[in-house]
């Protein structure tokens, strides 16, 4: 124990003398007493013993308040040795600003470390804010500066706790670590395959605490949904095989996990029957351009010897001519003179989403003399119809053998659209994006890292690519609704049975609500250095001094001043 002002203790020597002097002065001051005569008589009767210096040992405790007060003025300090307090290194890189409803990672980490340090019997005395290097969200970048700083501080004998959101690679074992991160518990289907034997194979994984889910298989048709199988999933990952699943040829099978979690992207799988092949009958020679264009479509089967052009859907014999070439006089269409047209090409109607860019045309176009009343113009050249449609009959108003359009890049694509439109109108099955097409996937660099799902236009209006934050799924957008997207997985499509996913666009609020904070805590190793801690003792001295003063001085005064006067007169 030490004293900040030890000289004050010298007053303790003089205190008893001072107190005795004051008390003696007080006691011996003549006090007027009205019954002096009575005291005089009483004293005369009494034989008193010799007077003592201290009249009673009970007088001694009266010195205690003064002694305690003087000791408190001397500033007593109780020295205790304890372990050195840790330094808290705070990673303030941009990712620490990732916000959830509980605040940013930095705020959550600081709140947590304030609780964890006292639990570990540690006292945070300093927080060192380390300017971290800004780093992209999706790219792992170590924090060399902080790790080096940790090593330097450890070498200097300090205790260090690092607060970060990224697992450091070379952090010394002696350094404490509080790793704060975000996690979204998620369970999803990773595989859904139905083979020709009617066996449905399902696989699923989960991340975080997802609890029990149900996997439901239902058949979706024009008459509505009908549940086929369901089973509760309690352990993850799971592998499930259901046998005897033989859906009708046109039926859609839907496998979903219930209830859906915050990421419904992987909670639902649609199993669609394969699109039926298109049979194109062409003459032996003369339509090489069309042959090459249709040959680019893997779903098209080309037959020779019939024609001039017989585009059918389904097995041979089911179809009839649906692509008319000029000059034509069937299907309600009749063409007239040829007129050379030059100008921009534009897609309309069902092809309106087809990108034409600034493509120009210069072709001899047949004039339409007759057309069914409900015909639809799909393609124009300088506002002159180039491709028209009446139901499932398409009429090309330019001769592919003589026109310049056949040499353009969009020619085979438009022909493939014709087959797509024809197949969609026939079976109602959404055509999947073909794997041979070039799909541009752009990473969401610079995007808000909180947004779980980014929809980025790769340059094709109406056809976009969606990637999530981790790049786990990649989808091709094939249909856009007001609230839902129908996507097809590219990576996990099964030949013949493409894996089709339907997902909701995740809102920012839904992602935030599903996000939980993950904390990994490792306390720092005990430090060899210890520090002295001075505990002030003034309160423990002044309070008893005050209480004793009240006990010795004020209480007797109140007792002596007992109220004996009865001013109130009670009437007899």
């Amino acid at each position: 124990m030490t004293f900040e002002r030890p000289l004050v203790l010298l007053l303790l020597l003089a205190a008893p003398l001072l107190l005795l002097f004051i008390r003696r002065r007080l006691e011996l001051r003549p006090r007027p007493v009205t019954t002096f005569l009575i005291f005089k008589r009483a004293l005369a009767r009494l034989q008193l013993p010799p007077r003592r210096r201290f009249r009673s040992w009970r007088e001694l405790p009266r010195l205690l308040p003064l002694i305690l007060a003087l000791t408190a003025l001397a500033g007593p300090r109780l020295l205790r040795e304890r372990e050195a307090s840790p330094l808290v290194l705070v990673d303030v890189s941009p990712s620490m600003g990732t916000r959830t409803r509980e605040g940013t990672r930095l705020e959550r980490g600081l709140r947590r470390i304030r609780d964890l340090l006292p639990e570990a019997r540690l006292r945070p005395v300093a927080g060192v804010v380390e300017e971290g290097t800004p780093r992209p969200l999706a790219v792992f970048t170590p924090l060399p500066s902080i790790e080096e700083r940790c090593r330097e501080l450890l070498a200097a004998g300090e205790r260090v706790v690092l607060l970060t959101d990224r697992q450091p690679r070379d952090l010394p074992d002696a350094c404490g670590l509080l790793l704060v991160g975000d996690d979204r518990p998620d369970a999803g289907l990773t595989a859904a395959t139905l083979d020709e034997a009617g066996r449905l194979l399902l696989r699923g994984v989960s991340r975080g605490e997802t609890g029990k889910r149900r996997v439901v298989l239902s058949r979706e048709g024009p008459q509505g949904s009908r549940s086929l199988r369901e089973e509760e999933i309690g352990t993850w990952p799971f592998r499930l095989v259901w046998e005897g699943i033989l859906p009708a040829s046109d039926a859609l099978l839907r496998v979903r996990l219930e209830p859906a979690d915050a990421n419904p992207l992987d909670d639902e799988v649609w199993l669609a029957p394969p699109p039926r092949p298109f049979v194109v009958g062409l003459p032996v020679r003369g339509l090489d351009v069309l042959e090459r264009a249709f040959a680019a479509d893997p779903q098209v089967i080309i037959l020779r010897g019939e024609g001039p052009c017989d585009l059918r859907v389904g097995a041979s014999g089911e179809g009839r001519a649906r692509l008319l070439l000029p000059p034509l006089a069937s299907g309600g269409f009749r063409t007239g003179a040829v007129r050379r047209v030059r100008g921009p090409m534009r897609a309309l109607g069902a092809l309106s989403s087809f990108p034409m860019g600034d493509e120009q045309g210069d072709d001899p176009v047949y004039e339409v003399l007759e057309a069914p009343p409900d015909h639809e113009v799909l393609l124009t050249l300088d506002r002159v119809p180039l491709l028209v449609r009446a139901g499932d009959v398409f009429a090309l108003l330019v001769d592919p053998r003589v026109g310049a359009w056949k040499n353009r890049r969009s020619f085979p694509l438009i022909l493939s659209e014709v087959t797509g439109l024809l197949g969609r109108a026939r079976s109602g099955i959404r055509r999947a994006w073909r794997g041979g097409e070039a799909i541009k996937v752009r990473s969401p660099a610079g995007a808000d890292p909180d947004v779980h799902l980014e929809i980025l236009p790769p340059g094709l209006p109406g056809r976009s690519v969606a990637v999530d934050e981790d790049g786990f799924f990649r989808f091709v957008l094939s249909d856009v609704g007001p609230h839902r997207l129908r996507l097809q997985g590219l990576d996990r499509s099964v030949p013949g049975w493409p894996l089709t996913l339907t997902c909701a666009v995740l809102s920012r609020e839904a992602v935030l609500a599903a996000t939980v904070t993950t904390i990994t805590w490792r306390p720092p190793a005990p430090s060899a250095t210890r520090e002295d801690h001075a505990v002030p003792l003034e309160p423990w001295l002044l309070l008893p001094a005050l209480l004793l003063l009240l006990l010795f001085e004020c209480v007797p005064r109140f007792q002596r001043a007992g109220i004996h006067r009865n001013q109130e007169f009670s009437r007899p």
Binding site: L26, E27, L28, R29, P30, R31, P32, V33, T34, T35, F36, L37, I38, F39, K40, R41, A42, L43, R45, L46, L48, P49, R51, R55, S56, R560, H564, R565, N566, Q567, E568, F569, R571, P572
Partner: protein, 288 residues
């Protein structure tokens, strides 16, 4: 600071005569406790069994054959003198002893005035009782209160022996109330008969304050006589206190014995009970 009565004292004073007459009948009260004055015929009233046969007017019975009794009344009340001992032993001005002395004195004066007696208010002095004021009517209540409030603070010796210079009672008689603590050495045995001389009578009102019964002193103290300035060292007040209380009781007994020996009324007055209680006990004949 000058002495001032409690604001309720005036109303209590005005209510005092009614308290005195409650439960005593119209003929009781202060007048009945006073000797002196002359009795004269007042009226006749019909005899009722229990009346003193000596009050029957036999001449009226013989002349008119009517049995009636005569009623009398005092035609003149005796003079009342209230003497205050204002020596230093009465304590500090406004203290318990001083306050109760003024309150009791005011009560006595007012009760006497309501009984029709002229009252003199005097203090003991070296040359004998010194009259401060004379009152003849209750309408002089304000003057009475003012006079009591303007009394000089207690001080000086106890001039109890000077009461022998009080002139003897004459005429209709005199009632003397002496308010003192009688703390003189030796006890005033020879001067008290003066109060009962002639047609007069006297009352000794012995003032003992509560703080005198329970003195609060440190274990070692020096006490001073406020009258003479003499000091006394009390080395062990705890040991002295039992003897002090015994001497105090003995002093009270001595004053009571003296009062009885000279046919004087006596009452112990303290500052614990209200002054009304003291006056009620005194005028109803009780001895406290």
């Amino acid at each position: 600071m000058a002495f001032a009565f409690d604001p309720s004292y005036r109303s209590r004073l005005l209510a005092l005569p009614r308290l005195l007459e409650q439960g005593n009948g119209p003929g009781a009260g202060l007048r009945a406790r006073m000797r002196g004055g002359r009795i004269e015929f007042h009226d006749h009233r019909a005899y009722v069994p229990g009346d003193d046969p000596r009050d029957i007017d036999w001449s009226l019975f013989l002349r008119l054959d009517v049995l009636a009794v005569k009623e009398f009344r005092r035609d003149e009340a005796p003079a009342v003198t209230v003497i205050l001992d204002r020596s230093g032993s009465m304590g500090r001005e406004g203290g318990g002893k001083d306050r109760i002395q003024r309150e009791v004195a005011g009560g006595l004066v007012h009760a006497a005035l309501r009984a029709g007696a002229p009252v003199s208010l005097a203090v003991l002095g070296e040359a004998g009782p010194r009259v401060l004021a004379r009152f003849r009517s209750t309408r002089e209540l304000d003057a009475l209160l003012s006079g009591l409030e303007r009394l000089e603070p207690p001080g000086g010796p106890t001039w109890l022996t000077s009461i022998t210079r009080l002139p003897p009672a004459r005429g209709v008689g005199r009632v003397v109330f002496l308010l003192s603590d009688f703390l003189v050495e030796p006890p005033p045995a020879e001067c008290l008969p003066v109060l009962a001389r002639g047609s007069g009578t006297g009352f000794l009102l012995h003032l003992v304050a509560e703080e005198e019964r329970r003195p609060s002193l440190r274990e070692t103290a020096v006490v001073r006589d406020p009258e003479t300035g003499e000091t006394l060292l009390l080395p062990d007040t705890r040991a002295i206190l039992p003897h002090y209380l015994e001497e105090l009781a003995r002093h009270e007994e001595e004053i009571l014995r003296l009062a009885r020996a000279h046919g004087l009324g006596h009452a112990l007055v303290d500052d614990v009970h209200p002054f009304e209680t003291t006056i009620l006990h005194l005028l109803r004949g009780g001895r406290t």
